[in-house]
């Protein structure tokens, strides 16, 4: 969940980083290029995963954990409170059920019974409260901003806890699916060797290099933890990762290079897992700075980009068109009736005239730190915009320090979001007037009011109505041009069974290891 990651080696490195631990998508859309033999899980074998997104400085401390490899390793050792399923619903993990009082400010959660830690200790309410409290108060937790909404957590009985929020939030279960909310025994602090309730037990772990965890024979989740052991080999270079998969040294790799997916698809021993999700790429106009303070200029820019071409060139088609708002079509509150904006140089010129201009010169700050291929995307935009009388100068920024020095500062820059579990979270974090990461400096009192209203509503029909309006407001008035959403792509050997697309990140939302099994 770091916006500022170090210089990007690849496109989607920051996918995880940006997404709080989930994406609130209504239906998991995505496809597998081959049908799977979905027979019953078979036990045995050693699963080898080659993964990018790890570093020798990694840690499994749930408070400061970040990036793909630790996320997957953490889900092997520990369980979360709530998980997001492949249909994008918040479903129970260690919290078995929940109920909100009207107004959604007070919640009661029931704990799953009969779960034990790897140490043999039974899971109790105290463990869960301790684990939540790691992120509250004076803490360096990355989930602190989420946990700040929690006013109080208390024990009701041996199986129930109450959570009181500072304000109504109907999405609390989604928020608790954030990957930082992992459960450890009360008082646990030895993060170099976590003890959890997860599908695998710690055997060896070398940060940023490799890990080996063995099967937890008494794992509580039915049909899971099938392989005897799981090995993770960190391979940050995408070419090395792809080679390792092709030469059979690993069973699966995450985050394929968009450019080589078509080639990999030809290999009969491989399956490509494509998952549509919430990661999207943005061209950010600062609504407080001229010329972007004029909505007509913003609309001119939004009509001056050829989205189809950009998607085809930059992502090789492995993505979805964006409609200048951050809600993905997989979200249950995605506005299906908002017309898709298309490339229209004449309309762009029309809006320029409305703004009292015959032509427009703008400077676009770009760097591959924003997302891999951002500079190329800027060039594609430049060519398309020229036909609409908009002269775009591309200013190449250094990738190092891009998030500190350029993002949120330059009048016209590029960026990237990994999506959030819910529409509310995505809109609150980057579009509300007082949002910390309001990267377009767009302010709209009406928007803020509606956003707050929808947050506390438990009635989905009413919420949908509001979220549809909000998407329309951002699309027509906001400062972000969002031309496309990128899919998550994994490559998996056909030997691995039980793999499905998942709207939340690569590798089935980080829980691939516990779900799959190896064919005989």
């Amino acid at each position: 969940m770091t916006r500022r990651d170090f210089p990007q080696l690849e496109t989607t490195r920051r996918g995880l980083l940006l997404g709080a631990a989930g994406l609130g998508l209504a239906t998991a859309s995505g496809s597998l290029n081959r049908a799977f033999a979905q027979d019953t899980p078979r036990k045995g074998g050693v699963l080898k995963l080659g993964m990018g997104g790890g570093s020798t400085t990694d840690t499994l401390d749930p408070r400061v954990m970040t990036d793909w490899v630790p996320l997957n390793q953490a889900f092997m050792l520990m369980n979360g409170l709530v998980e997001i399923d492949r249909n994008n619903q918040a479903v129970p993990e260690l919290l078995e059920s929940w109920e909100a009082k009207p107004g959604a400010a007070e919640w009661v959660f029931t704990l799953r019974q009969g779960v034990t830690f790897h140490s043999g200790k039974a899971l109790t309410v105290e463990d869960v409260i301790y684990s939540i409290n790691l992120h509250r108060g004076e803490t360096s937790s990355a989930a602190r901003a989420i946990a700040e909404q929690i006013k109080d957590v208390r024990k009701l009985s041996e199986s129930q806890i109450a959570i009181e929020l500072t304000g109504g939030n109907a999405d609390l279960p989604f928020l608790l699916s954030d990957y930082h909310f992992l459960v450890v025994p009360e008082g646990f602090t030895d993060w170099s060797k976590p003890i959890g309730t997860g599908p695998f037990v710690y055997e060896s772990y070398e940060p940023g290099v490799r890990s080996r965890f063995t099967r937890n024979p008494s794992y509580w989740k039915p049909g899971c933890a099938n392989v005897d052991a799981v090995e993770v080999i960190v391979i940050n270079d995408v070419a090395a990762r792809t080679n390792a998969l092709m030469s059979g040294q690993v069973h699966a790799i995450n985050r394929l290079d968009f450019k080589t997916v078509d080639l990999l698809k030809r290999n009969p021993k491989l399956q490509i897992v494509q998952s549509a999700g919430g990661q999207h790429f943005t061209f950010l106009m600062d609504c407080t700075k001229a010329p972007f303070s004029d909505v007509n200029v913003r609309l001119a820019i939004k009509h001056a980009i050829d989205r189809e071409q950009l998607l085809k060139v930059a992502l090789r088609g492995y993505g979805q068109l964006g409609n200048d708002h951050p809600i993905p079509r997989t979200d249950r509150f995605f506005n299906t009736e908002l017309p898709q904006r298309a490339y229209d140089p004449d309309k762009a010129k029309h809006y320029l005239q409305q703004a009292g201009m015959s032509d427009l010169k703008v400077e676009l700050s770009s760097s591959d730190a924003a997302f891999g291929g951002a500079v190329d995307a800027a060039a594609i935009f430049r060519a398309a915009a020229a036909k609409a009388g908009i002269d775009v100068t591309i200013k190449r920024e250094s990738p190092d320090g891009y998030w500190e020095k350029v993002w949120l500062q330059a009048p016209f820059s590029m960026g990237y979001w990994g999506g959030r579990p819910t529409a509310d979270q995505m809109l609150s974090i980057a579009y509300a007037s007082d949002a910390k990461w309001n990267d377009t400096h767009w302010k709209n009192a009406q928007f803020d009011k509606l956003l707050l209203e929808a947050r506390g509503l438990l009635d989905d029909a009413k919420r949908k109505e509001i979220y549809w309006t909000l998407q329309e407001m951002i699309s027509n008035d906001g400062g972000a041009m969002i031309p496309m959403f990128g899919d998550y792509l994994d490559g998996v050997s056909t030997q691995v069974q039980g793999v499905t697309p998942h709207p939340m990140f690569n590798f089935m939302g980080g829980r691939l290891a516990e779900r799959v099994w190896l064919a005989a």
Partner: protein, 315 residues
């Protein structure tokens, strides 16, 4: 001689100290610090402040540097700021990995290159000379990551002879380790052989034209004996120099090869450390790399003196 070596060592230590100052200052100039690198986008001012306090980052830079230096001279490399592990524990296994690969490549590459250099010098202008030169120049002109990928394609993906991942781990057998690192070794061979080979060839040729070599031939010695006993010792100094230079490259300059083969060496480790602004780790790597360069250069200089009677016995 001893005085000279001592002087060299003192200079080397001074160089290392300078490196540590420059690296420290350089990392201070980079935008962001370890706290913002760890927390990234989810950083709020409060959590940043909390983490900075935990890591002792509000202490002035000069004080932090002196603290580090004091630990270093006592042999304490400190703790990683990002994951709280002792730096030494993280560093040494990778150091040995790097040394293993460098030694593997040097053990095969240096004799091969010197041998080829002598042979091409003897067969100057012949087909063999030209062929070897063309191939060597060709491989040295290609970037190492490209050569690595070609080797992977041919020897790992299309014909699975060697693994594409140079995956090494503790407890691995020596033969297994050699097998795993063969492809990166071959890549390094291809990029280092040319330089040593050509330097040897030029040096040998230079002395081959001299009068005493002609005399040796005239008194009826065989070519082999002329080259090995008479020409080579006088050609050795520049060869030793270029060999030392290439070994230093094998230790310090192989980040790209490590990336292509996913080899767990020091180069990748340092890249990670810089990315996270993890100062104790960056400093430790810089010291190792600096020491490697200093030592090898010193060895080359001393060897050059030892090999040259005029320098060995100054009048």
């Amino acid at each position: 001689m001893t005085a000279l070596i001592l002087k060299r060592i003192a200079l080397g230590v001074f160089t290392l100290w300078l490196v540590s100052v420059l690296v420290f200052a350089g990392t201070q100039l980079l935008p962001g610090d370890v706290a913002s690198a760890i927390l990234g986008q989810s950083a709020t001012p409060e959590s940043l402040a909390a983490l900075r306090r935990d890591l002792g980052l509000e202490v002035p830079a000069l004080l932090r540097y002196s603290h580090w230096l004091w630990g270093f001279v006592q042999g304490d490399l400190g703790q990683s700021q990002a994951n709280q592990q002792p730096v030494a524990e993280l560093l040494w296994p990778r150091f040995w990995n790097t040394m293993f690969l460098a030694a593997y490549a040097a053990a095969i590459g240096v004799p091969l290159a010197v041998g080829l250099g002598i042979l091409t010098a003897v067969r100057r202008g012949g087909v063999f000379d030209r062929l070897v030169n063309i191939v060597a120049l060709g491989t040295v002109s290609l970037p190492e990551y490209f050569l690595g990928l070609v080797l992977i394609l041919v020897l790992a993906v299309q014909n699975p002879v060697f693994p594409s991942l140079a995956d090494v781990y503790p407890g691995m057998g020596f033969a297994e380790r050699l097998d795993a690192t063969t492809l990166p070794m071959l890549t390094l061979l291809l990029v280092t052989v040319a330089q040593i080979m050509r330097m040897t060839r030029t040096a040998v040729l230079a002395v081959m034209d001299s009068a005493y070599v002609e005399t040796a031939y005239l008194k009826g010695l065989q070519t082999g004996r002329v080259v090995l006993r008479h020409a080579l010792p006088n050609a050795a100094a520049p060869v030793v120099n270029v060999v030392a230079f290439n070994i230093a490259y094998l230790i310090t300059g192989v980040v790209l090869v490590e990336a292509v083969f996913n080899y767990n060496g020091l180069g990748r480790f340092m890249v990670d450390a810089v990315a996270k602004r993890d100062l104790p780790m960056v400093q430790a790597c810089a010291m190792v790399f600096g020491a490697a360069y200093v030592l090898l250069n010193m060895t080359a200089d001393i060897a050059a003196i030892a090999l040259n009677p005029r320098l060995r016995h100054p009048r």
